[in-house]
Symmetry: C2
Subunit: 254 residues, 2 copies
Amino acid sequence: MVVRTNPTACIIVIGNEVLSGRTQDVNIQFLARGLAERGIVLGEVRIIPDEREVIIATVNEMRGRFDHVFTTGGIGPTHDDITSESIAAAFGVPWEKHPEAWALLEARYPPGAFNPARQRMATLPRGAGLIDNPVSGAPGFTIGNVHVMAGVPRIMQAMFRWLAPRLAGGPPVVQQAVYARDLPEGRLAEGLGELQHTHAGVDLGSYPYERLGGKGVAVVAKGTDPAAVEAACAAVAALMQRLGADPQPGEPPR
Amino acid sequence: MVVRTNPTACIIVIGNEVLSGRTQDVNIQFLARGLAERGIVLGEVRIIPDEREVIIATVNEMRGRFDHVFTTGGIGPTHDDITSESIAAAFGVPWEKHPEAWALLEARYPPGAFNPARQRMATLPRGAGLIDNPVSGAPGFTIGNVHVMAGVPRIMQAMFRWLAPRLAGGPPVVQQAVYARDLPEGRLAEGLGELQHTHAGVDLGSYPYERLGGKGVAVVAKGTDPAAVEAACAAVAALMQRLGADPQPGEPPR
């Protein structure tokens, strides 16, 4: 609503290990925050299996709908790492030896150890530009508006840090929160709905919480105009006070 | 591949707070594990914004493609909780006072406190069956093959525990892991690819790890035939041994 003119993004997590419950994904939150800082609005996330046809269909749908598409996972050397060849198929380009990636990886291994499995990591869609991997060497890549990164969090984070300043962004999306202990969401709801109308340039989200330190409700204001975000937060705090609560700035303590 | 005859599921996380990076989702992993125990294969997850048209389109696409659809989030009393009315629209049924939910919630509040915002939580798609909420009262609901649950993890978990034994399941999907320290994935890859061919009834996934205790590679075997899963794991362990590594059962210690 408030950020429709900012560039948009989608994340595609390619990972049977997330769908099976083996792995708790932590890449989505990292990317979501990094994108918000660059003023890029994350519009959707999909977690899909390591299956060629699903990857092709998902990438082709999303690269048409969003300004940026980020994928994580499936670019290692094993038989279940099929992201790279699937993305070549999605773009309808050959999947072939990438001279720069090849030279980079060949130099990394002792003689004879750059085996066919590792050579797969230097086999990329034609036209791909490399994303630097300072952690383990095997690069990610960008083709069109699709950025293909590793699934291992430490490697993915390094890749995104390299990538972020190179992405077309927009005005940063700022967030400000206010919370009130022991205020039930159901008492706040009506007044908050009215405030969303009068502060239409800001997104107001309401989140009940329950922590060791007590329970209550947090309201998060989000937008690209810092003054409008601050004004909305002040109005929410005043509303909380009228309801007899004691509003505090920020998120409730953990 | 191995579990095509099991019922399938999809999760739709309805949550601006996840897309903005404010909240680390933990519901997906909980549901993924619970579904696997029931023999239900999680085929896809989508995280979408609290936007009516997006919710309607996503629910209608997914309920046609999967046996079960689970949604989390957006069923509270505030203006940004629009899941329930959007799902009524997706099914083309009225969104109306649900007598059972209404009676349940009205009894929960002191006289006068069951205000219009709280009454929204008792307003459901016509034909919905309730999902018990022992934590905070406001029920989830099932309509067709769509199960609508809260986003707050403790409430969502209680709802799923109530729901799970009522879901049509299949043979449980069992997983078994074996790992080897200091074995690079790139050395294991070729042999592992061959094992995937000879153990076609089992899914073999390869996951490099890096922990305080060291780094290496874990292989997870997954399938509905426990004996086949065990045999595949034994074959992977033997392969690791041939490569000079010392395979250990289970996941690498954290």
